[in-house]
Every structure is written in C-alpha cells, then in structure tokens.
Symmetry: C2
Subunit: 330 residues, 2 copies
C-alpha cells in the first residue's frame, strides 16, 4: 500500500515517516494492516533534518496548495494519508492569506482530490487545541463548542467539519486529532505562538539563553513528539466505528505551567541550565496564548486508547534522548 | 447606501427586499442608519413571485457561484449584505457537489470579495438549525457543540466559522443566524427535508390533499417568515459588540410537533381542512428530520432582542393573511 504524508519533512512529519518505515505496515480503510510499499512525502522544502535513507520514500517537494498538486500526490493505491501540512498559528494570524491558502484551501482541495479518486482512503488530519477559544468552560469537555479566536484555529475547525462530512458521505475515512501544544520541538523557534513552550526547555539544554515571552503562570496543554507520533499511528489503526458521529477529537495531554516546566527542566538538568531563562513578556504572543484552553477532560480519546505523557520530567528526558543524542550543555 | 441581497428572489429574499424598501433605511457597520439608494438583488432565477416594482431594485440574475460573480455584486458603496443564497438541505444531501459549490465555495468567494474591497460592510448570513446534529443534549444551549450530520449543516457551520474569523480580522462585520425551520413557506414543496412542515399547513389551506412524510410525533423548531424577516433586520441593527466572541447564534423559535401543528390548523381553519392530511412515512426524510434538534434555550439571542412567534395559531393566521390574501379553501 502507498502512504501520503503531507508536511512530511517537517518536525512531526519526519518522525512519522521514520515510525511508519520502522513499522513497515499501516492500517487502511478496510481495518487491515498493509505492507507499506511507498511513502509519498510532500512538503514545500527539505526540512531541517534529512529523511531516513530508504528506497520506499518518494519525496515530492513543491507547493501543496497549487491547483492540481493534491491530485498528483495520490492514486488508487494510496490507502493511508497523514495530512500534516500547515502554516503555524502565529504565521496564519499575521499572514491571513497564506494561512487560508495552506491550512484551508489546500486541505479542501486534498479532500476533493480524494473524493474524485473515489477509493476512500484512511486519512489522519492534524487539528489543534487552537480550534477552541473564546468563552470556554474551566475544563474543556468532548462536548465543548469550538469558537476559535485565531485564523489558524478557525481553519482547523472548518476542515474538521468538512472531514467529518466527507467521511459521513464515504468519500474518505477521516479522523482529526486536536493536538495539544507539542513540546519539546527541536530546532529553531518558529512563528507558532506556542514556540516558547519548547524553547524554554530546548534553548537552555543546548547552552543558549532564552527570554520567555509569557509569564510564569501561563499554562500549556502539551504532548511530547513521541506521544504525538504514537497517536497518529493509533488514529490510523482505529476502525471508523470507534469515532461514532464525529471524526474529530481532542487528544489527551497534560496541563503544565511555565513554572512547572522550568521546575522539570531544573530537576532533570540542574540549576545552571534553568538559570539560562529570563522573562520578557510579549503582548502579541500573550494574547494568543492566554486565549488557549489549558485544561481538558478528553474522555472520548482516553476511552479509544489515546494516552498522554506520564509526567513533564519524562518529556524533558525524551527530548534529550531523541533530539540531543543523550547529552545537554550543563 | 447600497444593499446586496443574495438569494433575493427566493421566498425569504423577496420578503426581505420588500421590508427593506418599506423601511427605506438599513444599518451599516458604523451602527448608523443609512438611506437605501439601491438594493442589488442576486439570484439564479426570477423566483415564483415578482419583486416589488421599485426603481431602487437592481436585479442581477445569474450563477452566484461563478468565479468573479461575487466581486461584480459589491462595490465600495455596498454597506449591508444579506447572504441568503443557498441550496436547501435535501438537495445539498443528494447533490453533494452542488451543495458545496453554492453553500460553501460561493460563500467563501463572497467573503474574499468583501475582504478584497477592504471596506468592511455589515453582513447577515443565514445559517441553520441543521448546523446541530449527532449526539445532542435534550435541550440545545448557546454552548452546544456543532456536529452537523448533513452536508447542508456542515456547509453552514463551516461558513459560520469563517464569517467569525473574517469579522474578527475586520474584513467584514458579520453575523450568522441559525434559522429554525421556516413555517409556513408558500408555493410548492421543495427539496428541503423540512418541506413537509409547511406543506401540512399550506396544502390543506389551499384545498389540496397532502401526505405527510413523517410521523405525528415528529417535532419541529420553527419560526414564521414574518419573524425571520424581523430577525434579519434586527441582526443588521445590532452593534458588533453585542455579539461578543461569536458572530453566530441560534434564533429563538418554538417547538411544535406535527400533531400540534395539525391541531393549530384545525383550530384556525376547521376539521374539513385538517382532514386533507394523510401520513405516508418516507425513511429518507425521516432520517434527516429526526436528526434535527427540536428543543433550544437560545438565551443569548433572547437577551439581544430576537423574539419567537407568540403561538402556532398566529403562525397559521399570518400565512393566511400574508400569502393567501386572507382566504383559504374551507
């Protein structure tokens, strides 16, 4: 079977591709495991780190939002699709047109390309906790209304709706996962408003000073890259019946304040590392971050077998292991 | 000021145009009343009844979903837009592509045409109670999640999200009204799954027999055409601040079962008229109708001054007065 991963050279895409290659199999809409013959990896550029050297990878660099691009990435043998390609939240907020083009229109085009093929592949879509917003209850339930207050969250929520309807109509076997903030991201800070949540761990561990743009009491609902990839694969394994009347769900995560994250960093890496952090509040970032939901009761996802990280310490340790080769700058 | 009414020759559009002409003024995004110099009436065809003979009407017949069509309907003087153009629920369900083209893509194009103009007009969008669906609570609250189970409802809910974001960004001053089932519609039965709710009143009153496709205990959340038009005008009059973090709301209506509707008909028009009804259940229609929400607590809309009809008897009487010239076939 062929697999398509959009955004496949990105931070999560690359890990997903590696995990798929390692597993060698993926579930299709028939609920059976199929051997992966080929992974079409679509992205705008080669990404910050190389993809694994594997003959099953078919790298297609180019603008996924161009007319005809989505059609060219799938064929009748494409049994599973992981749609990760997106412009991040801060960028979608500052460049409205770009966000609409990539996060919204290109996703609609992908759904229509799939529909035109008529073979109903399984599709995992990365939605986001940013789909929530506005007047939220203290704890987000599975039944909480989506009233996003960012363009990024709006685009994700709108595609969730369409994915659900295209699935209901039998055009695609979709499932949308509302990702918590993914921590710790490797590499450089990006335009995501949530970039700080990784930077406060990553930068000090790599020996750099970092000025956190939000206050210490800011909370984050987070999930580690390891658990995100495990969730993608689990989402692909679940039968469509498991999703019931909605193909979208909030993934389990953990609520951690910046203070608790710094404490976790100190525990794992010591006071010297934690002292590389300072605070320089940025109203633009804070407005977005304080609008996010930080406490959830994701009972549906937990009941379906999705799981959060054990604790924040293990998130820091996994980052050191997976991304820093087991070493940090003490 | 210029006004645009899409779907303007339709049943509601025509009444709205008449009401606007009678009022002579409309509110713009500056919260001030402006004299209506011109009403651009856009629709695919001339409709079943003529528009009022008024020099302020600029009728533009054509396919609103064609590229460039939305752009041609607005200019810098278009201060208020009522976006009613839509393919009805049953049709959108049976002809997926048509529903997506009109209800979804044409609406996105309209929003983008408005954004490109850059003058932020006020816009009232007709959403629908069909935006709700799936596992709903017994009573729909303002905080109830939208998980539509029809393509029509999905398309409406997705546009609501975009309208909210385009409003938040200052591209348009939008407000979306989730219309209850509108009863009594004049004219012929259409492809809307809700068509029966008007037909069981209209057909007997016009002397025709009618076979109701749903059981007597089927409930409907309804609003009369008179109250819908009043709600459109009220929505245009409200300041954007009144909407807070969401530009979408469910309009107040009343919950009536088919049995209660028939009782109301009998009260107003007599046993002879009510006896023209028979029941012939249609599983396709029933599946859609039983999926609809029928009980609501629209506190937000009530607090903002929107109002339902007084009782079902007055809905029947208004239909006889407005659409049958005060007479029915006894």
């Amino acid at each position: 079977m062929k697999v398509l991963v959009t955004g496949g050279t990105g931070f999560l895409g690359r890990r997903l591709v590696s995990a798929l290659l390692a597993r060698g199999e993926v579930s299709g809409a028939d609920d059976a495991e199929h051997e992966i013959e080929r992974i079409v990896v679509s992205d705008i550029g080669p990404g910050i780190a190389p993809l694994p050297d594997d003959s099953r990878i078919d790298l297609r660099l180019g603008d996924f939002s161009e007319p005809g691009a989505a059609e060219s990435l799938i064929d009748a043998g494409t049994g599973a699709i992981f749609h990760l390609a997106a412009v991040v939240s801060g960028e979608a907020e500052q460049n409205f047109e770009l966000g609409m083009r990539i996060n919204f229109h290109a996703s609609v085009r992908l759904l229509d390309a799939i529909r035109a093929r008529g073979h109903c592949p399984r599709l995992v879509f990365t939605s986001s906790v940013a789909a929530y917003g506005g007047d939220m209850p203290e704890v987000i339930e599975d039944s909480t209304i989506l009233t996003p207050q960012t363009s990024y969250g709006t685009q994700k929520a709108a595609i969730e709706l369409l994915l659900n309807d295209y699935s209901r109509k039998g055009f695609v076997d979709g499932r949308a996962l509302r990702l918590p903030t993914v921590v710790v991201r490797p590499g450089k800070a990006n335009a995501a408003a949530s970039s700080f949540a990784s930077a406060i761990i990553r930068e000090p561990l790599e020996g750099r000073r970092y000025a956190c743009p939000v206050a210490e009491d800011a909370g984050v609902w987070l999930l580690s890259p390891r658990r995100v990839i495990a969730s993608f694969l689990h989402a692909a394994d679940l039968s469509s019946e498991a999703f019931g009347m909605s193909r979208a769900l909030a993934l389990p995560g953990m609520t951690v304040t910046v203070r608790e994250m710094v404490d976790g960093l100190r525990e794992v890496a010591g006071e010297g590392v934690a002292e590389r952090l300072t605070f320089e509040r940025d109203p633009f970032i804070e407005t977005i971050v304080y609008g996010w939901a930080t406490r959830f009761r994701p009972e549906r996802a937990l009941g379906m077998g999705f799981a959060p990280d054990e604790d924040f310490r293990s998130v820091v340790e996994a980052f050191i292991e997976d991304d820093l080769g087991g070493r940090f700058v003490a």
